[in-house]
């Protein structure tokens, strides 16, 4: 049922090595900013934010000795465009097994674009409890914000045009790591 869009590859923005370096830097930044990993919890936004969150958790464990809990968040029920889309989004399970109250939540996603997904994620987290803080980590910030949202941790800033697609590749899903830029035609 997947539509094949007419797309072509323009360039590779991050190689696997660059990707790896960026992820390590983010992990260090999270630890530094939060003065350790003590009350930090990571929440990956379905779909690609989830493996990214797991990897960040592994890296934080390697650097600090403790692995922060990782939750998975489906934001479908919080989207603001549900009256306009013509296809029906499948709703996936949210798994946040730790107590949100008083935690320092770091939301994790692959790309930050308009900010609407991040806003939905904020609403979802807040409905689960009252965290001490919510921070936001993304691999790529591609600009074109429609809401006053910013990421605290960014792998790479990539200015893009609206006809372009930023594709974050993950070993777990695509077999390799990296970031590519594709052009949409027609």
């Amino acid at each position: 049922m997947q539509e094949t869009e007419n797309v072509t590859l323009k360039s590779t923005i991050m190689s696997p090595a660059e990707f790896d370096r960026a992820l390590r830097r983010i992990a260090h930044e999270v630890i530094e900013r939060n003065k350790g990993a003590g009350d930090v919890a990571l929440v990956g936004i379905h779909t690609r934010g989830v493996p990214l969150a797991e990897r960040l958790a592994d890296l934080i464990e390697r650097f600090e000795g403790t692995r922060p809990p990782v939750g998975k968040l489906d934001i479908t029920l919080y989207r603001d465009d549900l009256t306009e889309i013509s296809l029906q989004p499948v709703v996936k399970r949210t798994e946040v097994d730790f107590d949100v109250h008083g935690a320092k939540i770091v939301l994790v996603d692959d790309v930050l674009y308009t900010g609407r997904t991040a806003r939905a994620a904020l609403d979802a987290v807040v409905d689960m409890g009252r965290p001490a803080a919510i921070q936001f980590a993304v691999m790529v910030d591609r600009g074109h914000r429609e809401l006053p949202i910013r990421a605290d941790y960014v792998g790479k800033n990539v200015p893009t045009s609206r006809s372009e697609i930023v594709h974050v590749l993950l070993q777990e899903i695509d077999g390799t790591d990296g970031v590519e830029l594709w052009e949409r035609h027609g």
Binding site: D74, L77, L82, E84, I85, Q88, V90, R93, T94, G178
Partner: protein
């Protein structure tokens, strides 16, 4: 190798979406097993929402749901209204006896009056079969059948399937096949089958999901031609019906409504058709007891079974709201 492009095109936008095939939920005609299982999976997510401190999501913000209950049922109506409000939809209620639902008024005229309020979806219960189907022909909105005469009660069947699927999984017997979760399973439905929309909808749904259904009751209340439906058997013998069953569902008997010409005394009915612990011994070792509610104590089911650990009755009740949330979500979300 550094810098090698994966040449994997990005996933299409929007992700993991399905074309919405159904405008209404009237019965399960034309529904596929896959579509039903998606509803059940969505209901699981909705159950999670209801377990949180804030039992609400904004998914149906801006939508209006109207409940039209030409036949009284506070429980079912409140369940639907809760399902709508938990997703931030607005709710308008019309109940029998209110000035808007007058007896003898053509239902089309009633609909015309109500349509002024521009609801996106109507939840309809009526003592006559077919009213939701008639309304669906006349309205631009969506229609959910909350029980039409003896014909169908699809959300009841969905919550029964949801409850049973979860109970079997919890008992260490998860479905072998996602799309047909009741393959190899047998459901016995006992009671006044002729007058029961719960029996008809469960027979339709359980077999759609791969299972076998045995309908059991006194011959005068067991419509012969239902045996023509695929996967459905009839018997007047309760012991035969429950043998090997994975679940036994007892139906409400309405003795006052049936009268002495249709049914001999209630005592005779209870002696022959009440589900008792001895019957469960003939059923599968894990067999569950179900009832659409409200239960007539010690009539349809012996008290000890109704309250016992094999009883799914409370879980059935609890699953009503998440299942109805999933139905409302699935029918409404999309281009307004």
């Amino acid at each position: 190798m550094i810098g090698a492009a994966a040449q994997v095109p990005p996933p299409p936008t929007p992700p993991a979406a399905a074309a919405r095939r159904h405008r209404h939920l009237l019965d399960f005609t034309d529904w596929t097993a896959e579509e039903v299982v998606s509803l059940l999976d969505t209901a699981e997510v909705m159950a999670q929402v209801l377990a949180r401190p804030v039992k609400r999501v904004p998914a149906l913000q801006g939508y209006t749901v109207a409940t039209l209950f030409f036949e009284d049922s506070t429980r079912t109506r409140l369940s639907f209204e809760r399902a709508a409000r938990a997703q931030s939809a607005d709710v308008i209620s019309f109940a029998a006896g209110g000035s808007s639902l007058r007896k003898g008024e053509s239902i089309r005229d009633t609909l015309r009056t109500i349509e002024q309020l521009q609801a996106d979806l109507y939840v309809v219960r009526h003592p006559s079969a077919g009213v939701p189907h008639q309304l669906a022909r006349w309205t631009n909105g969506a229609v959910v059948n909350a029980g039409d005469g003896r014909h169908a009660h699809p959300t009841q069947a969905l919550l029964d399937a949801y409850t049973l699927r979860a109970a079997l999984t919890a008992a260490g017997l998860p479905p072998a096949e996602r799309e047909r979760p009741f393959t190899g399973r047998r459901l016995a439905v006992v009671g006044d089958v002729e007058h029961s929309r719960v029996a008809r909808s469960n027979a339709e749904l359980f077999t759609l999901l791969g299972g076998e259904v045995v309908l059991c009751g006194p011959a005068a209340l067991l419509p012969r031609e239902l045996s023509r439906l695929p996967g459905v058997h009839l018997t007047a013998d309760l012991r035969e019906a429950v043998t090997g069953a994975d679940a036994v569902m007892a139906l409400r008997i309405q003795h006052e409504r049936l009268g002495p010409k249709r049914l001999p005394s209630l005592a005779e009915y209870v002696a022959r058709y009440q589900v008792r612990p001895a019957h469960l011994e003939l059923a599968a070792p894990h067999a569950f007891v179900m009832h659409p509610g409200p239960l007539n104590r010690d009539v349809e089911v012996a008290s000890e079974l109704a309250d016992g650990e094999r009883s799914l009755v409370e879980r059935q009740v609890a699953s009503g709201v998440p299942v109805r949330m999933a139905v409302l979500y699935s029918l409404l979300v999309g281009k307004k």
